[in-house]
Amino acid sequence: MNLTLKVWRQKNRNTEGKIVDYQVKDISPEMSFLEMLDVLNEDLLRQGDEPVAFDHDCREGICGSCNLFINGRAHGPESGTTTCQLHMRKFSDGDTIVIEPWRANAFPVNKDLSVDRSAFDRIIQAGGYVSVNTGGTPDGNEIPIPKEIADRAFEAATCIGCGACVASCKNASAMLFVSAKVSQLALLPQGHVERKTRVENMVAQMDKEGFGACTNIGSCAAECPVGISLENIAILNREFLAAKATSNNLV
């Protein structure tokens, strides 16, 4: 297949970016989208041009690095996939493909298609963990957790932190990400000790990073590669409200 690519090129976070057109030839339909970009970068290197910077790591849909906004959709037109799981057979010969980075004030562009998602790390640092201050590893099944609760917590835990929710939300809101992390730990007994402080701190950090507020339009859940549901946002809202009303934190 031969394709026209319209790729966002930006030197660094302080410069203005622009769309640059490239032609790629003889792309196999079996290639993943990232392999197609590898072909483009080899061509650019051979021509003595700067390759296009894009994030990638595991290339099997686990790491959440390959964040590309393809033809106006986070991770491209396929639902339930990351960019590395998107294959060129979903496109046709002669297609024009627009490739942009995630756009959010909280996710500044490092270079070209690579964005800085450390805002997510700082939200996790604010409370997305369970403190274990003493003792050894507890025996398996020592803490009884009903299967249904374990399954729901696991569903929330599948969030890979890719940021597609922020990228596709019209408000660049991070609520689906934060809600997945909060509800995962709120559902499990291990998370109960820090439950109230966690949600207060994580929401405060989310606001501080400059993410928008949720307006329940549902774009995030529709574009989430692992299918985190909007129910988590409702859980986050009530966890937040309950924590603010009953926690001992006077801030």
């Binding site: 106006g72 596709s168 019209k170 307006t215």
Partner: protein, 223 residues
């Protein structure tokens, strides 16, 4: 008491204010619609005028009116503030964005729809509330202020009829998203009840807006 201001200035706190005031305003719509159904009574407006007189002079209603103004004020203020903050959170816009493939139009344009409803509200207050409260309305046979005559007069103006009917479409789409969205924001999401809330939201939106839209149409064509 900084925890209270911190709660309500957080993104979720502001959304909770939007949801709570939104549902409160929904309750106002029900009262307003049910009361105004008396316009359809074939008595030359006597029942409607008596009701109107009660609503504008009863002390309890006048106190509740302050709450209503506060509800509108908060909903409008927080709505505009959130809309501008949310727009700023995006930063630079996408060259190509097909958001219409993953969310309905009306859910993304609540601020636009709300602003249209606000414009209508101002005209609506000018038409009726302004004259009744600050003007010198005529009296009917029972000595009540003749609000009915104002309605008949306004709804024989094709521009007002068109505006009032179109405004109901803006309100309809605002409610179609807003009603169920308010429950989600308040954390009331349950696999048993959420489908029911969504259904009730659609029925509520259609019935309320159709009820209001019927009034100008009825007066223009039949009175």
């Amino acid at each position: 008491m900084s925890w209270i201001s911190n709660t309500f200035s957080s993104s979720i706190g502001r959304k909770i204010v939007m949801a709570a005031t939104g549902l409160f305003l929904c309750s106002f719509l029900v009262v307003h619609l049910v009361g105004n159904l008396q316009l359809f009574k074939n008595d030359g407006g006597l029942a409607f005028n008596a009701y109107s007189e009660f609503m504008s002079h009863n002390t309890i209603i006048r106190i509740l009116e302050i709450g209503l103004v506060a509800g509108f004020g908060l909903h409008i203020f927080e709505g505009l503030l959130l809309a501008s903050k949310n727009k700023a959170a995006r930063g630079s816009s996408y060259v190509s964005n097909h958001i219409e493939q993953n969310s309905p139009w009306h859910s993304r344009n609540m601020a636009v729809l709300g602003s249209l409803v606000l414009f209508f509200l101002i005209v609506h207050l000018y038409n009726f509330f302004g004259t009744l409260r600050f003007g010198e309305p005529l009296k009917d046979a029972q000595g009540n202020e003749n609000a009915y005559a104002l309605v008949v007069d306004a709804f024989h103006n094709i521009f007002y009829v068109a505006l009032y009917v179109l405004a109901q479409f803006a309100l309809l789409y605002h409610l179609l998203h807003g009603f169920q969205s308010a429950f989600q924001t308040l954390g009331l999401n349950h696999r048993k009840y959420t489908p029911l809330i969504k259904l009730v939201g659609v029925v509520f939106s259609v019935v309320v807006c159709a009820g209001f839209a019927a009034m100008p149409i009825y007066f223009y064509f039949f009175k």
